[in-house]
């Protein structure tokens, strides 16, 4: 047992810190710290900075232009980046499609699409979920029918995050309706500029418009955009879903969030004293802090196991549940700190455009974030789905 980083790991940590200090634009930091949405250009700027350093695709093999970091290195980067209020890397091309193409794509597909992900030529989005399917992903109804050298796609996808920025979408489509649900699904790459595609924003309860519905009406997709084999898409989809589980606990985000709560609570007055000194509020903060410390160690244990070649499955589900609960609890604390000033809100404030909303603690729209982050326990496999997996795996003979 050794809980400290090796010298190599410490050196890498210093390198990351230095990079973030020198290269991360302060305008971006300000927005991230307040939970304000970044514009497309800002995200692309940060991606370009990372790409210039060779750090945009840390999980990719070097042969594809990636960093080939181990789990500990990725953890160090993620933690430092969150603490520095760096933006989250948009994962659709880099963490989702990339690995799928690397494993299942043709040489032509790899040569064409992978460099375009790195240099920002393409912004990918994800066409998995459909209305009415919820957690039952395999019940998808979007049809793709072969017509000569094309598939003709009809249907609807939903919860397409940042689809408004994307020029490409990877989709699960049904190519054989007559077999068992999972067996008739294919994985298609679709140009968003093809005629027949319509993107409509879904306004979320905090007024944000980051997710979309995507409608397909007789959309013609060249057959060379099929990944792998027809009707084998479910295999690739599962690979995608289980592959990228690094940072699933969001430890760095929680640490940054908790630090912000403490900072605000030191500044906020409660009956003539800083709120942080109020025993009831302090107890709330302390309990999350304690839970987070334990989870950070759980995270390190799993990372250490992954770095040693282990395959965390059950643990990832556990971390996702606990991680979402802790982050949501921190969001709840943030809204409490703000007191009456948690109430004012205009959805434009999400884009930093509204200066009339008072924000005495410099906290940004904390109540809106509290609501927005309810998604953490719903999207990407709800906590109920995760609990079901944990129970099933454990009670069918996994370890307790």
């Amino acid at each position: 047992m050794d809980m400290s980083f090796t010298d190599d790991e410490l050196a890498f940590q210093s390198e990351v810190r230095e990079f973030l200090r020198d290269e991360l634009p302060s305008e971006i930091v300000d927005k991230v710290a307040k939970g304000i949405e970044l514009g497309k250009d800002e995200v692309e700027r940060w991606h370009a900075i990372l790409n210039a350093r060779g750090w945009l695709a840390p999980n990719w093999p070097k042969s594809f232009g990636g960093g080939e970091w181990n789990a500990v290195q990725r953890h160090i980067f993620d933690t430092e980046a969150a603490a520095a209020n760096a933006p989250r890397i948009v994962p659709f091309g880099l963490s989702m499609l990339g690995p799928v193409l690397q494993k299942f794509g043709s040489k032509e597909q790899q040569d064409h699409w992978l460099p375009r992900i790195l240099d920002g030529s393409d912004w990918w989005c994800q066409g998995y979920s459909e209305p009415g399917a919820g957690s039952d992903l395999a019940s998808l109804k979007t049809r793709a029918v072969r017509d000569g050298d094309h598939y003709v796609v009809n249907g609807q996808k939903t919860w397409t995050t940042l689809g408004q920025h994307a020029n490409m979408i990877f989709c699960l489509v049904r190519t054989d309706p007559d077999v068992k649900q999972q067996e008739g699904i294919s994985f298609l790459l679709i140009d968003m500029n093809t005629p027949g595609i319509e993107v409509r924003p879904i306004i979320l309860l905090d007024g944000s418009d980051e997710v979309n519905e995507v409608w397909f009406t007789d959309v013609r997709v060249p057959v060379e955009n099929l990944v792998g084999e027809e009707n084998k898409g479910w295999t690739y989809a599962k690979y995608l879903l289980t592959h990228e589980r690094a940072n699933i606990a969001g430890v760095g985000f929680s640490q940054a969030g908790l630090a912000a709560v403490k900072r605000m609570a030191r500044a906020e007055n409660h009956n003539g004293k800083p709120l942080i000194e109020n025993p009831h509020f302090a107890a709330r903060v302390a309990q999350v802090d304690i839970d987070l410390r334990a989870m950070a160690t759980s995270n390190l244990r799993i990372i250490s196991k992954a770095a040693a070649g282990g395959a965390p499955g059950l643990e990832a589900s556990m971390l996702k549940v606990k991680g979402s609960i802790i982050r949501q609890e921190i969001n709840d604390l943030a809204r409490r700190v703000a007191g009456p000033y948690a109430m004012p809100f205009a959805s434009e404030a999400l884009e930093g455009a509204n200066d009339t909303i008072p924000d005495p603690l410099g906290a940004g729209p904390v109540a809106a974030q509290y609501f927005n982050n309810r998604k953490l326990s719903i999207f990407g496999g709800s906590n109920e789905i995760q609990r079901g997996i944990i129970a099933k795996v454990t009670m069918s003979g996994g370890r307790a």
């Binding site: 919820g134 039952d136 309860l205 409660h270 949501q328 009456p340 509290y370 609501f371 309810r374 906590n383």
Partner: protein
């Protein structure tokens, strides 16, 4: 012992519920939410006409209600429908303070729906502390700043707390008086508020002190608790319906035992919330009213959070979308915790009052 509503209150409840169900639809409300005014003058006039505003005042004041259970009935229905119009701040708090000051002509206009008020009490940095008042009254003029003043822009008059020497007193200020500046903004859960500054603004002393404001705040605590209860009832109802109709893996998701048991827990806690509001309304005039009100507000804060979060979670994605009714309802529930002292504030107050 009798927990039935009187015939009059039952009628008020039925009328208001029917009216709001028919008129105050999600679509209508969404238009109001995104309007510049943040409220509907038509709805306001109709609420007055239905007697909803009059029900907040005693006969002596020119109304026909005014007791704890009258407030509970009205605000439970407003909460159920997610009404954003400032009945609580403008009519109840503002109106009852004017009634306490003997301004019966103005109260009449409030009941008629023709006079809008705002209560400007909280100040930046004051959080929920009742006696955090730095606005100064000196020789008939006020100078200072008030925070998150509900309905400030729509109000014709503001009732302002200010410190004259050591004492805190309440003053009446016309919105268009000299030196009044309002920076208005929308609120997350609907409606509008503003930061209000006074610069040597002429003001009329109302002859009311902090204890009068506390009495009005007690009314507001009954109202906001009942409103949150009504919203929780809506949230629970929407969730129940969703669990019964939404199918996944081939059956209604409400038949999945984990969700069924969590639904049962929500229903159990909803009963607790209902009883807490009855306590608040029933003990409003009792000697230990403050204790009961803090107990209620604390419980409503805790259960409200549970109901809002569990309702969203059990719905899944759809509850995250603004166009779905629950989104607004959940915001009303959680944001009620930020008014007149939150869960922790009232826990502390309950502890202090229990020890006394």
């Amino acid at each position: 012992m009798n927990f039935e509503l009187t015939e009059e209150r039952q009628m008020l409840q039925d009328t208001l519920r029917r009216y709001l169900r028919e008129k105050y639809t999600t679509a209508v409300r969404n238009d109001i939410l995104t309007s510049d005014a943040g409220l509907s003058a038509d709805i306001w006039a109709e609420l007055a006409e239905l007697g909803v505003l009059g029900a907040l005042f005693t006969e002596e004041m020119g109304g026909f209600g005014g007791a704890g259970f009258d407030l509970a009935v009205v605000f439970e229905e407003l909460g159920r429908a997610g009404v954003v119009e400032p009945v609580l701040d403008s009519a109840l708090m503002g109106g009852r303070l004017l009634a306490a000051a003997g301004k019966s002509d103005m109260v009449e206009q409030v009941i008629a729906g023709t006079l809008h008020l705002a209560v400007a009490h909280g100040e930046p940095g004051g959080r929920y502390d009742m006696d955090y008042v730095h606005t100064k009254a000196d020789g008939g003029v006020l100078t200072g700043r008030k925070a998150v003043v509900m309905n400030a822009e729509a109000a014709d008059h503001l009732i302002v707390s200010a410190r004259d020497g050591d004492a805190i007193a309440l003053y009446l200020v016309a919105k268009d008086a000299k030196g009044v500046d309002i920076q208005g903004y929308p609120l997350l859960a609907g409606g509008r508020a503003g930061e209000v500054t006074f610069d040597n603004t002429p003001a009329e002393p109302l002859g009311l002190s902090l204890s009068d404001l506390q009495a009005a705040t007690n009314l507001a605590l009954v109202a906001i608790s009942a409103e949150a209860l009504g919203a929780m009832e809506s949230a629970t109802h929407l969730t129940k319906d969703y669990l019964m109709t939404r199918t996944q893996f081939g059956r209604p998701i409400g038949t999945f035992q984990a969700l069924a048991h969590r639904m049962a827990d929500l229903l159990i806690e909803l009963e607790q919330a209902r009883s807490a509001v009855i306590n608040a309304a029933g003990y409003l005039e009792a000697p230990d009213a403050d204790l009961h009100l803090s107990a209620t507000k604390n419980l409503i804060g805790r259960i409200g959070r549970l109901v809002a979060e569990e309702s969203i979670q059990m719905h899944g994605g759809i509850a995250m979308t603004q166009e779905y009714e629950l989104a607004h309802i959940a915001k009303r529930i959680v944001m009620a915790d930020h008014r007149f002292g939150d869960t922790d504030y009232h826990l502390e107050r309950f502890i202090a009052l229990s020890a006394a």
